[in-house]
Each structure stands twice: as structure tokens, then as C-alpha cells.
């Protein structure tokens, strides 16, 4: 039985591969989105009378569209693709919140939104980091 399983693994290419590889474009792109968002959160916290800025959302949505496309073409990337959709969903919710919230914006609103978006971003970066340091070398690398 063990031999059958081993033979199947060997035929499959010797190593198991269940998730895609690290992608620097996704890593950098998501970090850039976070930086852009942090600048906007910072402005709102420093001056709660800062008006709703549609340009911020246009820019960040353009960056997110590029990330969605990239994640869509990478092999074995459905998890990070879903995480990018979650991040987009939260940016959309924040845009709606920003539009409907009278000024001055309560700091707590900004902080609560910031936390959610930060968790979205950290979740993607945590997984990308794990993929980057993935210590699943081929058998040849382990037993040269």
C-alpha cells in the first residue's frame, strides 16, 4: 500500500504541490495599496473635516484591478485571489462609509475601518511570506 502511494507521488513529480508560488508583484502591490490607504486614514485622523476624496478611490481601485488580474492568471492562486476580493470589498465599503459620514468623521470610524483593511492586507502578506520561505524543496535538494 505504501509502495503504491509512493509510486503515485513519484509519477506526480516527486513532490506535493497544493498552492502556488510566492509572487513579488502581489506582495509589492498589496503593500502599495496599504500605503495609499494609510495616507488617507492619516489625513482623516489628522483632520476629521477632510472631505471625501473620489480620486483616492479611483487610484486605489486601479491598483486593485491590476492585482486581481495578476492573481487570476497565477497557477494555484484561488486563496489569494479570494483575499484580494475581500480587500476590494472592504475598500468599497469604506468608500460608501466615507461618502455617507458627515464631517467631522469620528476617529473611531476611521480606526475601525483601518483595522479591517489592515487585517485584510496582513492576511495576504502573511501567506505570501509563507510561500516565499516555503521550505518544501524537491527531494533532490533534500537528498542530493
Amino acid at each position: 500500500m505504501a509502495l503504491v502511494w509512493l509510486a503515485a507521488m513519484v509519477q506526480a513529480g516527486c513532490t506535493a504541490k497544493f498552492i502556488g508560488d510566492y509572487d513579488q508583484s502581489i506582495d509589492n502591490g498589496v503593500s502599495e495599496v496599504q500605503q495609499q490607504a494609510e495616507v488617507y486614514f492619516g489625513k482623516l485622523k489628522a483632520d476629521p473635516n477632510t472631505p471625501y476624496d473620489p480620486n483616492f478611490y479611483n487610484q486605489i481601485n486601479a491598483r486593485m484591478a491590476a492585482l486581481r488580474t495578476r492573481a487570476g492568471i497565477l497557477p494555484q492562486y484561488p486563496i489569494i485571489q479570494k483575499q484580494i476580493q475581500e480587500l476590494q470589498g472592504n475598500l468599497d465599503r469604506f468608500q460608501e462609509l466615507d461618502k455617507i459620514t458627515p464631517r467631522p468623521v469620528p476617529i473611531g470610524v476611521v480606526t475601525a475601518a483601518e483595522t479591517a483593511i489592515t487585517v485584510n492586507v496582513e492576511s495576504i502578506l502573511k501567506l505570501e511570506l509563507a510561500l516565499k520561505r516555503n521550505t518544501a524543496p524537491s527531494l533532490d535538494e533534500k537528498n542530493p
Binding site: 506535493a16 473611531g108 475601525a112 475601518a113
Partner: protein, 110 residues
């Protein structure tokens, strides 16, 4: 030379288990920190709502944002689990390579 499947299984388990444990600790640590942030934020939304600082619509949007953040955390845990399984299988295969190849007299596991 026949293969001692019991010994083989023990070796594979010994190689795979530490990998699984390391990943489990890492995933737990990550999820624990992130869920604490989300829980604190949910509490602050309730406080703002009761204080009249935000209305129901704003509270709903903020709460939906926390739900999305939670889904992202769980997706990361799922991804880390796949990585753990990947590494554990590869570690298990690596440790039995010599024994298996010697038994079958050709490099079945290259």
C-alpha cells in the same frame, strides 16, 4: 530485500509530524493576534453606536468590514494548512527514499 512497512510508516510519520506542528503553531499565533484586533474593533463599533456617534448604516458597514477581515484571516489559515500538508508529504517521502530505492533496486524515488 522486502520493505518493513511498519518501520517505513514510523519514519514517514516522524518526518511529517514536526512540520505539521510548526505550521499549526504559526497559524494559531497569526489567527489569535488578528482575531483579537477584530474582536476589539467590534466592541468599539458597539460603543460608538450606543453613544450615537454612528448610525445603524455606518455600524453595519463597519461590522461587514470586520467580517471580511475575519474571512481573510481564515483564508490565510487555509493557505498555511495547504503549505503544511505539502511540506509534510515531501518530508515523509524524503526520509524513505533510500530504503525504498534499495528495496526495489532502481531509483523509484529519484
Amino acid at each position: 530485500m522486502s520493505i518493513d512497512t511498519g518501520a517505513l510508516a514510523q519514519q514517514m510519520l516522524a518526518a511529517a509530524l514536526p512540520v505539521l506542528k510548526t505550521h499549526a503553531i504559526d497559524a494559531e499565533s497569526f489567527a489569535s493576534v488578528e482575531f483579537k484586533k477584530i474582536a476589539d474593533t467590534v466592541a468599539s463599533i458597539e460603543v460608538m453606536l450606543h453613544a450615537g456617534q454612528i448610525n445603524d448604516q455606518q455600524a453595519q458597514l463597519l461590522f461587514d468590514m470586520q467580517k471580511s477581515a475575519s474571512r481573510s484571516v481564515l483564508l490565510t489559515v487555509k493557505g498555511l494548512s495547504l503549505l503544511a500538508a505539502e511540506e509534510a508529504i515531501n518530508a515523509a517521502l524524503a526520509v524513505v527514499r533510500t530504503v525504498v530505492n534499495a528495496a526495489v533496486k532502481f531509483p523509484l524515488i529519484p
